[in-house]
Amino acid sequence: MIRILFFAGLAETLGRREVDLDYPGQVDVAGVWDRVVGAPRPDRLRCARNQVHCDFGAAVQDGDEVAFFPPVTGG
């Protein structure tokens, strides 16, 4: 299973903050987005795999945590 998290304005737009996805076999972060959201990725979307920033081409393993979020605005 893959745990998928959404944050900030993206979570509000999608109306959800957390989804679980049965591991579909070989998949990258972009593929996870497509399966769970099914809409084009917003401009400037960022992602992390297991709490580390990554590219959309990063491979996702069973058990991973994948997060999608807008540009960060802390500090």
């Binding site: 998290l5 944050f7 900030a8 304005g9 509000e12 400037r44 992390a48 709490q51 580390v52 920033h53 997060a67 979020f69 807008p70 540009p71 960060v72 605005t73 802390g74 500090g75």
Partner: protein, 147 residues
Amino acid sequence: MTRVELCTAPFDPYADLRRFQRSRGLDRGACGATAVFVGSMRDFNEGESVAELFLEHYPGMTERCLEEIVAGTLADTGAEDARVVHRVGPILPGEDIVLVAAFSSHRAEAFAACRAIIEALKRDAPFWKREKGPAGERWVSCNTGDK
């Protein structure tokens, strides 16, 4: 005390800094230079007045990211130690949002480390600000490059 801390209530950055210095033995005359940045909530942003701020974060990743930023910066700059405290949750105007302090024997390293940490935090640490103003709520869209 650990180098990185998130806090949900108002904090005094300068009292925190003193406690950190004491707890890490940085107040015993070895580190001559301390460079500090404190970011506070302004009561305006992009021309609109802001009454309240909410800071969302990614629990787990935020702490990990900040710890990596601090460790990497100390290695890069040669500064001795550093402290980062960041608020999460609701914040009112005038309250402090972030403290970055860097300690070193010499001021060039302390300044370089303090600046590098706040820049990396603004670029990479998973925090998101939502502002509440007279026109309702809005997510801050991005951090400016070097403001």
